[in-house]
């Protein structure tokens, strides 16, 4: 599913070169539940951005579904994000002037899906997230947990193979956080590949595979439950 080969990412800060990622190689199989942990500046967010095709590695190769993405053009990358990858962010990133419905429908709008095909899909997705009665509310009228569930609905509306979550519970209280984690794990049950970046060891330890990063390298890659069958 995902194969990283010697991925490095340097940033130029002033006249200094900062190695955010330093030769990361990684294979993630379809349907895996992976958590990435590590201290601030360890490169876990950069890794997530590269996995999500938002950022390009300085060197190394990234195969997504056996396709080399490193030399895809901007358009093709956008298309891949649209169809294969879903994002969930710490700060939700809902468009404040759009209703829950319209926020969830955004990827369908971007892909040019006809309106009549959108309606049921969006409603169904919001119902699954337990937001049936919040369809026409705007983000400011929703609680943090509800907002993040809208964001998850939006991330999965195109049925992507990979869901990337960046501190999905970082901005939530414990109860809401648990709801969100439950929702994400329910998706794993349905076969999605989930990669969660988190500070929170409680969340991180729930994943089947735990990657620990230090200074832009994979320090530890463990699978306590053994390889899935």
């Amino acid at each position: 599913m995902i194969r990283l080969q010697g991925i490095s990412r340097y940033f130029q800060v002033g006249d200094q070169s900062v190695h955010a990622l330093d030769g990361v190689s990684l294979d993630i199989g379809a349907g895996q539940y992976v958590s990435i942990m590590g201290p601030s500046g360890s490169g876990k967010s950069t890794l997530l951005h590269i996995l999500g095709l938002l950022d390009r590695p300085t060197s190394g190769r990234y195969f997504l579904n056996n396709r080399d993405t490193t030399d895809l053009d901007e358009r093709a990358q956008a298309q891949a994000r649209l169809e294969q990858i879903g994002f969930v962010f710490q700060f939700f990133h809902l468009v404040p002037r759009l209703t829950a419905f319209d926020n969830v429908a955004l990827p369908l709008v971007l892909s040019g899906t006809p309106p009549e095909d959108r309606n049921d899909r969006v409603r169904q997705r919001l119902e699954v997230m337990g937001l049936a009665d919040r369809i026409h509310h705007r983000p400011e009228q929703l609680s943090g947990g509800q907002r993040q569930r809208v964001a998850i609905a939006r991330a999965t509306i195109m049925n992507p193979a990979i869901l990337l979550a960046d501190e999905p519970t970082g901005n939530l209280d414990r109860a809401s956080g648990k709801d969100v984690v439950d929702a994400l794990e329910a998706l794993v049950q349905q076969g999605i590949t989930l990669v969660v970046v988190t500070h929170d060891p409680d969340i991180g330890s729930r994943a089947a595979r735990r990657i620990h990063m230090v200074d832009g390298r994979v320090a530890e890659d463990s699978m306590p439950g053994g390889l899935p069958p």
Binding site: H93, V95, G112, P115
Partner: protein, 399 residues
């Protein structure tokens, strides 16, 4: 992305920033309103002047002595060694399609009648003058078609000259003195008012040959030829040239068709309308800078949203299109509002000042709207391009 979704998405941001969008569109609206209002006045004046000119009909050709003109006036009117004679005028009756031929001699003399004297314009003309210039006789009749070389001493008064001399008395049959000659009044023209600064009502009309004698001239100032409305003007002009050149041995006269004058006048007035439109366009330009400013601010404010859209799979082109359509919608809305205000203002002006002719030129309205959309497009490009080039990772951090 579907077009309707593009519109919905852009309008959602326009409507969520209501005050800001209103003010931005207002800038464009003021510019468009200025252009529409100013060109309406310009076009109104244009039409007014053309109407003044064409009230004598458009199938009119003037022949003046001499070949050179300065500032549109044939110099031969003032003095020439190649006179145009009454015989020339008579010969021109043979021009194909000609319906009337009027010799004209204009001067200025003292007119006395009914115990009053008044210095005024004297027009020596032929009997076909009223018919040629569609200018009716109010009382009595016009000069009869006597032998043009020895006509009877009859005079016809303009309506103002009549009332100045005779008040309300019946002037028919009364004697008037024009210069040193005595004439019998046989008619009064209907009132025509000022035509381009020339008061036809304060004028006395006498036979052309008597005007030549009165002013001691041997050349007419002008011969006017009226032709059938559906006749080809070129053939009429050709006929005039043939007859006069045969009589004079060379082309020592100037022919001006009414159409030529209208064309020249029309182009001058169009330039005027364009000029005031362009002046109003300065405001439109400033309104465009307004859109540029507001869109630049919007891109900055909505950086996180742009990052999100990119993360969701929007291509750069889609982000560009989104912001561009926002700018164009702002300017388009301003354009429509400005059109309503401008056209409405023009109508209001027309009601308040009925003397001021106002006509909203639709060509300029369409042009102004296109310019408004163009302004939105051009001023939207820079911010929209900046939005599309934002680095998605950086933008997502902007919240």
């Amino acid at each position: 992305m579907r077009f309707i979704d593009l519109i919905r998405l852009s309008s959602s941001s326009i409507f969520s920033y209501r005050v800001r969008s209103t003010l931005t569109a207002l800038g464009i609206a003021v510019g468009i309103a200025a252009v529409v209002l100013l060109t309406s006045i310009g076009e109104g004046i244009h039409r007014f002047v053309l109407a003044e000119f064409t009230q004598f009909g458009t199938n009119l050709i003037a022949v003046n002595p001499g070949k050179t003109t300065t500032q549109g006036t044939p110099l031969g009117i003032l003095g020439t060694v190649r006179p145009l004679s009454l015989e020339d005028a008579e010969a021109l009756a043979r021009v194909p399609y000609a319906t009337a031929v009027v010799p004209v001699m204009q001067g200025n003399a003292e007119v006395e009648g009914g115990e009053h004297t008044r210095r005024t314009t004297v027009l020596g003309v032929g009997s076909e003058f009223p018919q040629a210039f569609s200018y009716g006789v109010g009382l009595g009749r016009f000069l009869p078609s006597d032998d043009s070389l020895s006509p009877r001493a009859f005079a016809v008064l303009g309506s103002k000259l009549y009332s100045e001399l005779f008040g309300k008395r019946n002037p028919l049959g009364e004697k008037v003195r024009v210069g040193s000659e005595h004439y019998r009044v046989i008619g009064v023209m209907e009132s025509k008012g000022q035509v381009l600064g020339f008061d036809l009502d304060d004028t006395v009309y006498i036979p052309a040959v008597r005007a030549l004698e009165l002013f001691n001239r041997d050349s007419l100032m002008e011969i006017d030829v009226v032709y059938e409305a559906d006749a080809p003007p070129d053939e009429v002009v050709g006929g005039i040239k043939r007859i006069l050149s045969a009589r004079h041995g060379k082309e020592d006269y100037t022919i001006t068709t009414q159409q030529q004058m209208l064309d020249v006048l029309g182009s001058v007035l169009s330039v005027l309308t364009f000029a005031v439109g362009a002046l109003g366009g300065i405001s439109l330009f400033v309104g465009g800078v307004g859109i540029l400013t507001i869109m630049t601010i919007a891109v900055r404010e909505r950086t996180a949203e742009i990052g999100l859209l990119r993360a969701l799979g929007a291509a750069q082109g889609q982000v560009l299109l989104l912001f561009l359509s926002e700018a164009v919608m702002l300017s388009g809305m301003g354009g429509v509002a400005g059109l309503l205000v401008g056209a409405g203002g023009a109508q209001l002006l027309h009601l308040l000042v009925p003397a001021l002719p106002v006509k909203t030129p639709w060509m300029y309205v369409v042009l102004a709207e296109l310019v408004a959309l163009g302004v939105g497009l051009i001023t939207g490009v820079v911010p929209a391009h900046r939005a599309s080039r934002l680095d998605p990772v950086e933008s997502l951090r902007a919240e």
